[in-house]
């Protein structure tokens, strides 16, 4: 009888243990960290941004497509359109903190610049969903059926949602919780840059059918009118603006271009293999080369490649977590 009790106890412990979330490697808190979300092997790689040393790697075995960092700079929210929830991990401990049961279809996420909201783009509900930091849904604003790109102004009052399918971009007033303006964009428009100061919205894309997108389209955010086409063949999809200038990455031709403030092309270099995403910080650009599973580190001024870091398979999104000693500038959090 006693033996059976012991056995049951052991089995119970094993069962509980089996149900427990496995703990992932912790990410050191003091340093500034570049985070690469890799979709092909469902992993997340963490680099010391100064040395390029890999400080941690998370093998998640979840169909993740992207991530955002919450304002506490220690919680990472991971999403994917085929997962029925989003996962929140504490980077300092490597533990899963909580899950928000959102249902399937989350294709983008953005943390409000005000620091009190998380916006999740949902392709199933065809909506921009607004959550507080505890995971409580506060509002839902109807947009197009594939809201892949999310941009916000510095003040955090307006969100721009660029739809991938139905040739529309939506300007959403966060406080009023409604779309205040829409404007036409090409099909498969993707990636953008909001220039508050100049009242411009730059939008990239892939092109439709067998036609390859070769231009960046510049819209007025006031009127929604197309102001200008800027040549950037082919398939410009990622943008960064810093003091050095405006950078655009074309994944079709593997070309990184740089313009000055007035829109004059300053330089263009070939970088990576099918790169989808870049992020700027510390006078550098970090570019994820999807086909070669690398991060290219490029000097913003000289446009020279400084380093190449090996990631997991299929780096699809980059994030920067500031260290305790405080970072300088942050690039763009792609939605």
């Amino acid at each position: 009888m006693r033996a059976i009790c012991v056995l049951l106890a052991v089995l119970g412990i094993l069962f509980i243990h089996g149900c427990e979330q496995e703990t992932l490697p912790a990410v050191p808190k003091q340093m500034e960290v570049l985070i690469s979300v890799n979709v092909n092997d469902e992993s997340v790689t963490f680099f010391d941004i100064q040395t390029g040393r890999k400080v941690a790697e998370w093998k998640l075995r979840k169909r993740i497509k992207g991530a955002v960092l919450l304002p506490d700079d220690r919680t990472m929210l991971l999403y994917g359109n085929e997962m029925d929830r989003v996962y929140l991990y504490d980077m300092r401990t490597g533990e899963e903190k909580s899950e928000w049961k959102t249902g399937k279809g989350i294709v983008g996420a953005l943390v409000s610049n005000k620091g009190n909201k998380v916006f999740l783009a949902d392709e199933r509900q065809k909506a921009l969903r607004v959550f507080d930091l505890k995971g409580k849904e506060k509002a839902k604003i109807e947009v197009g059926n594939k809201p892949l790109t999310l941009l916000q102004n510095k003040a955090g009052t307006t969100i721009y949602v660029i739809d991938f399918h139905n040739t529309k971009a939506y300007a959403v007033d966060v406080d009023k919780r409604r779309v205040i303006r829409t404007f036409s964009v090409p099909k498969f428009a993707f990636g953008g840059l909001l220039r508050d100061g100049r009242q411009e919205l730059w939008i990239g894309g892939h092109g439709s059918g067998s036609t390859v997108e070769t231009n960046i389209r510049i819209y007025s955010i006031k009127t929604g009118a197309l102001i200008k086409l800027m040549k950037a063949p082919s398939m410009p999809v990622s943008f960064v603006e810093t003091n050095e200038g405006i950078f655009a990455l074309s994944h079709g031709s593997n070309i990184l271009r740089k313009w000055d403030d007035s829109g004059n092309l300053k330089a263009s270099v070939t970088i990576g293999a099918n790169p989808f995403i870049m992020i700027g910080a510390n006078e550098r650009l970090y570019i994820a080369s999807y086909d070669s599973n690398e991060i290219y580190v490029v000097d913003q001024r000289t446009m020279k490649i400084i380093a190449r870091w090996k990631t997991g398979k299929g780096p699809f999104q980059l994030l920067i977590r500031k260290g305790n000693d405080g970072g300088k500038e942050n690039g763009l959090n792609r939605g």
Binding site: V39, L148, F164, F188, F190, H206, G207, G209, S210, T211, V212, S234, M235, H251, G252, S253, N254, T270, G272, A273, N274, F276, S289, Y290, D291, S292, E294, G314, F316
Partner: protein, 468 residues
């Protein structure tokens, strides 16, 4: 109802038919398989080589117009369709975004190409709306898939070629099958016909007709069986004839003394005998004939026993010369009576393993004949000699009138007599030599007769010598 069983001919034909059909259908599938495999493999190899040669001209960096023109030129000259694909959309560069575009090169192909591998496609290709056999060769600049060379030929042309083969092959195969089936039927008949004839002949034989012979057409197993069958039929016929003759002979031989006995005894009973002397003569005659009958019955019984091997021989090692001398001693009075000179040359070292009584019977029967047919003052010569380590010969030669050459082979047959009339008088049964022959055969020996008419007769018996 029991199903009607098939004849051997039908079975053989069925087997041949199944064999032919199986062979032909197997060869068809094999032909098709190899044709397709070899041809398609060859096409793939050619496309691959062409693609790799073309790709060798790509030096890295973006695809140049010059290279594109070169490929276009090649496309015009080549029998295969050659496409240079450098549109990132066609290369599935936007795949992670789910752009809902049916790219020429899908995600799996792209990852293979990125590894530097070539991709082979066989089957329906949506983009070309047809079945193709194609090869994709990557144009890689480090990890960058700058483009790919897509070489293909429509599979229809390959299918058409197999159709051509079928057009030639099908009628030929049909003809082949037809001819083979006909030949098979003939062959089956060829095999079974002699068997049918044998069956018929066997029936005839069972009815007592031994004359029929099976024609021997070939020297194969069936032919040899037919030959053996004929030999058997002949042997049976001969045996049958001998049996009849034997019966006729036996009844004849028995009837003659019986009629004597009956006639003389009747004469005595009816009082036809006048004097006592005459009566005594008649009784003597009856006694003589009874003797004869007794001898005849004894010999017949002897022969039957020897032939049936009912009484096994009592074989012991013995000195043959001694047996001969003992037998000859019994004949001294007869020899003296006829004034016959007897010469003996006997090798006393010869030892046989045999039945002494039977061997004595042999010598006695032979000597009987020799004395009987040798005239007064004639000569008889007996010789026993070694011919080798393993065998010896007994030769008995007389100086009688001999036997005609053509009758020599008949000696030793039951009731055969060279001179019918005389022997009856002399009282032989006609079974003596037959018994000798049988005894010698049971001793694993042989007997042969040599004679020239008028100059005497020589009997040679060869027997194995006893070895320890």
């Amino acid at each position: 109802m029991q199903p009607k069983s098939m004849t051997l001919g039908q079975k053989i034909w069925l087997m041949i038919s199944i064999g032919v059909l199986l062979t032909v259908s197997f060869s068809y599938f094999l032909l098709n398989y190899f044709y397709q495999k070899l041809y398609v493999d060859k096409v793939e190899q050619t496309l691959m080589e062409e693609g790799k040669l073309l790709a060798a001209d790509y030096r890295g960096g973006p695809i140049t117009d010059a290279f594109r023109k070169q490929v276009e030129w090649y496309n015009e000259k080549s029998t295969a369709e050659v496409l240079l694909v450098n549109n990132p959309r066609e290369l599935s560069a936007c795949l992670p975004f789910g752009v809902e575009y049916e790219s020429l090169i899908n995600g799996d192909d792209r990852s293979k190409l990125l590894r530097g591998d070539t991709v082979t496609k066989i089957g329906y290709e949506k983009r070309f709306h047809r079945k193709i056999m194609g090869v994709i060769v990557p144009l890689l600049d480090e990890h960058r898939l700058q483009g790919a060379l897509y070489l293909y030929i429509p599979l229809a042309s390959i299918k058409e070629l197999t159709k051509d083969v079928a057009v030639i092959w099908l009628p030929l195969a049909t003809l082949f099958v037809f001819v083979l089936l006909l030949a098979g039927k003939r062959m089956a008949r060829h095999i079974t016909d002699p068997l049918k004839e044998m069956e018929k002949v066997a029936y005839h034989m069972s009815q007592g007709d031994y004359r029929a012979q099976i024609p021997v057409r070939a020297n194969d197993e069936v032919g040899r069986l037919a030959k053996a069958f004929n030999v058997m039929a002949k042997a049976i016929a001969e045996e049958d004839m001998r049996k009849r003759e034997f019966l006729a002979n036996v009844s004849h031989e028995l009837r003659t003394p019986l009629s004597y006995v009956k006639g003389y005894s009747e004469a005595i009973l009816q009082g036809l005998v006048k004097t006592e002397e005459e009566e005594r003569k008649y009784v003597q005659l009856i006694h003589r004939e009874a003797d004869r009958m007794e001898r005849l019955v004894r010999d017949l019984l002897d022969l039957a026993r020897l032939e049936g091997n009912n009484v096994p021989l009592q074989k012991t090692p013995l000195v043959f010369a001694q047996v001969i001398e003992d037998t000859v001693a019994k004949y001294e009075p007869f020899l003296q009576k006829k004034q016959i000179t007897l010469n003996m040359e006997l090798d006393h070292d010869i030892i046989l393993e045999g039945d002494a009584d039977r061997l004595e019977q042999v010598v006695q029967n032979l000597l009987d004949n020799a004395v009987r047919y040798t005239p007064a003052e004639g000569k008889i010569h007996i010789r026993l000699k070694k011919v080798s380590d393993a065998s010896c010969q007994l030769i008995i030669r007389d100086s009688g009138k001999g036997v005609p050459k053509e009758k020599l082979p008949l000696l030793g047959q039951r009731f055969y007599r060279v001179d019918q009339a005389r022997t009856r008088k002399e009282g032989g049964t006609g079974l003596g030599l037959a018994i000798v022959k049988q005894i010698i055969s049971l001793h694993n020996g042989t007997i042969s007769f040599f004679s020239e008419e008028g100059k005497g007769m020589e009997v040679v018996i060869q027997l194995p010598i006893y070895t320890e």
